[in-house]
Symmetry: C3
Subunit: 214 residues, 3 copies
């Protein structure tokens, strides 16, 4: 039996790639949220910036990769700024960004960051539990900072099947990896699993039980 | 005169023990607050988790113990999750957790984290002022993150004799240590001092003067 | 032609000096905001403390200078506490601190931290983009934490020509440095540029365009 065929890129480069696409998407989405909240142009850039980079920075501080990648590798900051600039340039004229656009962008960033965060934690020697937590933190951290700054309860607490979708994606990925699948392939499968669950849940208005109704 | 009898455990292990009990208590208390705030089950777990681990993580980042203990030693995460799960399982059916239960749990976590935070800072070479500040940060940090996420002004700013009780406990501990008492014994005495002051203040509705009434 | 005359102090010591003056000013200003928000005396000290030290601590964690200067060098904590104590002692009797006093104090701290933050990042090997971001983070970080704790949208998002004034000051400084001017002199010029822009903007109620009106 041949060894399972891996993707033609190393997990390291996949983490960077996933991180950068998620950074762009969250930069776009954070600045769009600022447009909806009626902030000025510079405030939109600031909000896009922290939404895009916040999750990864917290992850890097927690796994001990300091200074965080976002402060060592200029691609992160430039990607975040381009995302935020695109949002202010494209979405500003239409004045209000449709809710479903933000939901889809957010789900994309969530999925990419969940698997890249968990994979990076594994590479720094984390066990599976810590890797799952790191995946969730990377995925929801930037959005949590965005919502705290906008003075609303963060989406991670308000929205059902949000952090749990990130958890689902990382669990799918980790099960595959422990079963011997190549890490790069499982990053893609885990990301798709998270994205699918999050979008279907948003579309069907799935709710987890509230604690008091258990 | 014999040397003062120490507790039969090293300060190192006492810090871990105090940290873990406080982590459990704050996990329980953070998830209970989520039940009261009508979050869903996964949101309650997330809130219990950050309440339990937030203060210690900030302390460890600030004293340079990276990655933070909560990310190196799996006991922390598991303890926080068990605390949060117990809260959702026990408190969910009664739907609203009585206020005094939360106050007592909170005071317990506050006291344990105040002395463990200050002691860990001492072990990392901090002077007394920095140790006091680290004790306060460890004690109030998790709750501050909890309240910020729930979008309310943190208890540390709203509640009189809260951060000041943590300060009192660390001062009692440090005075004893500087007077030659064993560190482990003073951790217990300082913790009891903080707990007693906090509970009496909550019971008697003690208030510090407001700044403008000085 | 003689070499440009530098200030008689090294950039290192200028960073410390600027940091400490800004720490004092933000300690004063954070505690004053607490007086206005009707917090008690200890809450005012806590708020002054985090406003004064928050920006520099985040900067130091991000550039990898851990433990942060505020936890290694006792001057920071003492300066922050003195600033907060002065505010509660002076401003408490007059019960409400005039808005323009807070604006001027805030602009001073903003300017000093913007140039000290960018300069310290340069000394840790950051490129110009990262140095600019670090300058902004140092300048607005403490105030953002203050406002998040007071449960309002941070000034950096609400107020036009705030983060952008910090950016302006660091850009002026970096252009001068790249043109061969001594670092110490450009710190002063950049700081004055930021302060002037911020104060004129506050006085004239300048506004950046809101995103939707572009």
């Amino acid at each position: 039996m041949p060894a399972p065929r891996s993707l033609p890129v190393s997990p390291d480069r996949l983490v960077l790639g996933f991180d950068l696409v998620a950074t762009f998407v969250f930069g776009l989405e954070g600045a769009s949220a600022a447009v909806n909240a009626n902030l000025d142009v510079f405030g939109a850039l600031v909000l896009g910036f922290v939404t895009a980079l916040g999750g990864g920075i917290i992850r890097d501080l927690l796994i001990g990769d300091t200074p965080p990648a976002a402060f060592r590798d200029q691609h992160y900051m430039i990607t975040a700024l381009v995302g935020a600039l695109v949002a202010t340039a494209i979405f500003a004229p239409i004045s209000h960004v449709p809710r479903w656009v933000l939901t889809v962008l957010d789900a994309g960033g969530l999925s990419l960051f969940a698997v890249s965060g968990a994979t990076k934690a594994l590479e720094f020697g984390a066990n599976d539990l810590t890797a799952m937590i790191c995946g969730i933190i990377t995925a929801v951290g930037g959005g949590a900072i965005r919502d705290v700054l906008l003075n609303v309860v963060p989406q991670v607490l308000r929205t059902s099947v949000y952090a749990s979708a990130a958890l689902f994606g990382t669990v799918v990925m980790l099960i595959g990896i422990r079963a011997g699948q190549p890490r790069g392939r499982m990053m893609c499968i885990g990301g798709v699993a998270c994205l699918a669950l999050r979008l279907v849940a948003a579309w069907q208005h799935w709710n987890l039980p509230h604690a008091e109704s258990l």
